[in-house]
């Protein structure tokens, strides 16, 4: 069933909750592990796995509360995965990766390759990203580019409830380490049709969120929505944006991006992650290598400048990309 034929609407958060519930019902080897899952807000600070649903149904053995020991429990998840289970762990905010990165990129991500293909490491790390809430430098970053840079991790970045459910289900059925990046600004505000029955969205398939003629905009996560808003405003001025959401950046659907660029001859990448050596840079490099002659103007990036995310709303709005910056950038290349 496609998104369009469905009437029932869920929030982004509800879609994730439903995927987790259904996948845990489907496979008893799947279990949750993270901080404050059994009590507190009822499943982490955003209440994605409400205790009254999850602990009640699956028991504390499959909804494991951990101490604040991210290196310990993420490494544990990697080996639990390599020995027959399928953990879904929660890294409360992606900003906390600094204390457990070794277990993610040196252990979980490399175990299969380094040991000559002996290991399968089917694990999911769900984590929360994004700014816009005054959470300042340690709770507002995106950082998915860092994880995409190292080999061995699949990188999933949903932007709408339909994708969130289908991609998370795919992640939980995958046989490799997958990181799913959920924007805190989407949990309650993004709402959309979601089928009740389980379904999967395969990795490496971009989705054209809006068709257009003049400029290709590649955007992820919350930036998809900002790009759509910008497109609606630009439409009134006769500028039509085609918005491509890669949905997974490892693996990356180059074909859909290149086809769109071939059609529009212009490319803007909107990325809430830091600009330098980031996802936007990667898309720019890929199109420069494989589609340079489709272009009639320079590739433009709209990303977060290389500064820590400031606290004050007056400063934060300067750094996080928004509709005005997208529009201004588009106009630089549309004469």
């Amino acid at each position: 069933m496609t998104e369009n034929k469905v009437k029932r609407e869920l929030t982004f958060k509800e879609a994730i909750t439903e995927a987790l519930m259904q996948e845990m019902e489907r496979n008893e080897k799947v279990f949750l592990m993270g901080e404050d899952l059994q009590v507190f807000y009822g499943g982490g600070p955003f209440g994605v796995t409400p205790a009254e649903k999850f602990v009640k149904k699956f028991g504390p053995e499959r909804v494991i509360d951990t101490p604040i020991s991210e290196a310990g429990f993420i490494g544990a998840a990697a080996a639990a995965a390599a020995t027959g289970l399928h953990p879904v762990v929660e890294l409360m905010f992606v900003d906390f990766f600094g204390v457990c990165m070794d277990q993610i990129y040196n252990q979980a991500a490399k175990m299969r390759y380094m040991f000559g293909g002996q290991a399968k490491v089917p694990m999911v790390i769900r984590t929360v990203i994004g700014g816009g809430f005054g959470f300042a430098a340690h709770h507002s970053q995106c950082l998915y580019s860092i994880f995409a840079h190292v080999p061995g991790l699949k990188i999933v970045i949903p932007s709408i409830p339909y994708d969130a459910k289908g991609l998370l289900a795919s992640a939980i059925r995958d046989e490799d380490p997958v990181m799913v990046f959920e924007h805190k600004g989407l949990y309650s505000s993004a709402k959309g049709p979601v089928p009740e029955e389980p379904y999967i969205i395969p990795f490496g398939k971009a989705d054209i969120k809006r068709e257009g003629k003049h400029v290709t905009v590649v955007a992820t996560s919350l930036m998809v929505h900002k790009a759509i808003n910008a497109a609606q405003r630009l439409e009134k001025e006769g500028i039509s944006l085609e918005i491509v959401d890669p949905r997974t950046i490892v693996p990356l659907d180059k074909k859909t991006i290149l086809e769109s660029v071939k059609k529009t001859s212009k490319l803007v990448i909107v990325d809430e992650d830091y600009e330098r050596c980031g996802f936007a840079s990667e898309i720019a490099a890929m199109v420069a290598e494989e589609g340079l002659f489709y272009l009639d103007s320079p590739i433009k990036r709209v990303a977060t400048p290389n500064v820590p995310i400031p606290y004050s709303p007056a400063l934060e709005k300067v750094v996080i990309p928004d509709e005005d910056r997208i529009i201004k950038t588009v106009k630089q290349i549309v004469k």
Partner: protein, 324 residues
């Protein structure tokens, strides 16, 4: 503790194999047959052998950069180990891992991490997995004195303690973290004393005595298997050579100190015990030595004659699916 004759002979043979294998690795590294870095455990053989002799089929072991001994003690095929060190297709990791990343899942060797302290959380996970799947498997993680100052040591002991996981934390205190003496970086007398902070048993064991090691490991794995949770064992031991081959080890310790430890040599001591107790005759001991030498020579021949991995292998196995 009384052990069957065959078991004692096997333990002696394994210790000898580790030493013989590693002295050959030393030479092969000097000749350039083995590249990268090799970290030898000569002097420490009693620890992996005594511990692994307490394990059952299906148990898990996590190793580290100084891991040849752990693999041999657990029963990994030394031909495929040597081939791995040679970087050949027939290696246990198809030449992708080398000396610092030996793994053989078929015998429970879940791999060596060359990040100090990196393997401890993995041991927690393997044990969590066997507890959740009710398999009665025990997990052993070998790590050094240096790793006990990493955060992962503390996180892992605590996690294993609160979840009562079947883990034996096997600390091989060889007195030096690279060149840093343990006394310089720790005020506590024993690493084992740190177990008290996590509410689990901790014990200091003579790591130069294979029977003492074995007895302590039997007790710890027995506890683990009965669901009583983890144990931290600190084996006081010593590496006769440097941190890695080529390391100027006399700059941070005296030759006299090394000689003093060599007097406690576990292999010599055990050889005498075997003869004194009538387990073996002198002739039989010599026979074992010849047998081990031949096994290691065969492993080198196998490695040397094995093909190099094909270039396309460099881009495989990042994921189960084909892309990278």
């Amino acid at each position: 503790m009384v052990l069957a004759k065959e078991k004692m002979i096997d333990m002696h043979k394994k210790m000898l194999t580790i030493r013989t294998f590693e002295y050959k690795v030393k030479d092969l590294f000097a000749q350039g047959k083995i590249v990268g870095a090799v970290h030898l455990s000569i002097g420490q053989e009693a620890v992996p052998v005594g511990v692994c002799a307490a394990l059952k089929k299906g148990d898990y072991v996590l190793s580290n950069h100084r891991g040849h001994g752990h693999c041999i003690a657990l029963g990994v095929d030394i031909k495929r180990m040597m081939a791995e060190l040679f970087g050949r297709e027939t290696g246990v990791c198809k030449g992708r891992g080398g000396s610092m990343h030996l793994a053989d899942f078929s015998v429970g060797m879940l791999g060596a991490s060359a990040i100090v302290g990196g393997g401890l959380p993995l041991a927690v996970g393997a044990a969590l997995s066997s507890k959740m799947q009710k398999t009665k498997q025990v997990t052993v993680v070998f790590f050094g004195d240096g790793a006990s100052n990493q955060g992962t040591f503390h996180e892992s002991l605590n996690l294993a303690a609160i979840w009562r996981l079947p883990v034996l934390f096997a600390c091989e205190n060889n007195q030096y973290a690279e060149s840093t003496p343990v006394t310089k970086v720790m005020l506590a007398k024993n690493i084992a004393d740190r177990a008290a902070a996590y509410g689990i048993p901790g014990k200091v064991v003579d790591g130069m005595n294979v029977m003492a090691v074995h007895e302590a490991a039997e007790e710890a794995t027995g506890r683990a298997r009965e669901g009583q949770g983890p144990t931290l064992l600190e084996f006081k031991t010593y590496r006769y050579l440097g941190h890695e081959e080529g390391d100027p080890w006399t700059t941070y310790r005296s030759e006299a100190e090394v000689e003093e430890w060599k007097k406690k040599d576990a292999i010599n001591k055990f050889r005498m015990i075997l003869i004194e107790k009538g387990v073996c005759t002198e002739g039989e001991v010599a026979e074992i030595e010849n047998e081990v030498k031949k096994l290691v020579d065969d492993a080198i021949k196998f490695a040397d004659e094995s093909p190099w991995p094909k270039p396309e292998e460099a881009l495989k196995d990042v994921f189960v699916s084909s892309y990278y």
